[in-house]
């Protein structure tokens, strides 16, 4: 399946991009490996993950077209 991956805050600086599309993704674990290969530095940072605007805890089941976001600690206000 194809999914979109978004990077915010400091993570957009670390990856040098705000969005990347991944094709033929088999699972979240698979996606995570591929992101780790592309941006090894990313996993040194503190973040949470949202799928389609909802924070997810562990190993979410992905659907085609999902939007996966890497969110550093929030700092609004």
């Amino acid at each position: 399946m194809e999914v979109s991956v978004l990077f915010f805050g400091v993570l957009a600086d670390v990856t040098g991009t705000r969005i990347r599309h991944y094709n033929e993704v088999r699972s979240f674990g698979d996606l995570r490996h591929r992101i780790s290969d592309d941006f090894p530095e990313l996993f040194h940072y503190n973040f949470r993950i949202a799928v389609n605007n909802e924070i997810v805890d562990s190993d979410p089941v992905l659907q085609p077209g999902d939007e996966i976001a890497f969110l550093p600690p929030f700092a609004g206000g």
Partner: protein, 143 residues
């Protein structure tokens, strides 16, 4: 909840208050205004803060905050949130929260709680921009 490009203008605050004032059963409004401080960090002056947001999620989370506040405070009649995206200079306004209630106690509590939830739940990030144009991602302080 509205995301505003750049600083929140005084006119937007006046509009919020005017709108809230139309409800003659409201007796108390608590308004919080967050302003970018001219902080000094290791000898460098903060010129402004660049805000970025995960916009769709900001809107859905702000909607949850409103529902939480309105269900927890039975005297509260309305909650409004404005937040900047993009660059806000030192001395300019980056956030406004207005809680309107029948009486003052719940207006204050609701506004204060909404501000905490905004800081905790809304996917917004800030980068301090210094006078030499360098930047630094900034976490929220505890208070």
């Amino acid at each position: 909840m509205h995301l505003i490009d750049g600083p929140v203008p005084a006119s937007a605050i006046a509009e919020l208050l005017a709108k809230a004032g139309n409800d003659a059963e409201s007796g108390a409004h608590s308004l919080f205004v967050g302003q970018v401080r001219r902080d000094e960090v290791e000898g460098r002056q903060v010129k402004g803060i660049e805000y970025s947001a995960y916009e769709e999620m900001v809107i859905t989370e702000a909607d949850k905050i409103s529902k939480t506040i309105l269900s927890e405070f039975n005297d509260v009649r309305g909650l409004e949130i404005l937040h900047s995206r993009g660059l806000v200079g030192a001395g300019e306004i980056s956030m406004v929260v207005l809680a309107s209630a029948g009486h003052r106690k719940q207006a204050f509590s609701a506004c204060s709680k909404a501000v905490e939830l905004i800081k905790e739940k809304l996917p917004i990030w800030k980068k301090e921009i210094f006078e030499d144009e360098s930047g630094r991602w900034k976490a929220n302080e505890a208070l």
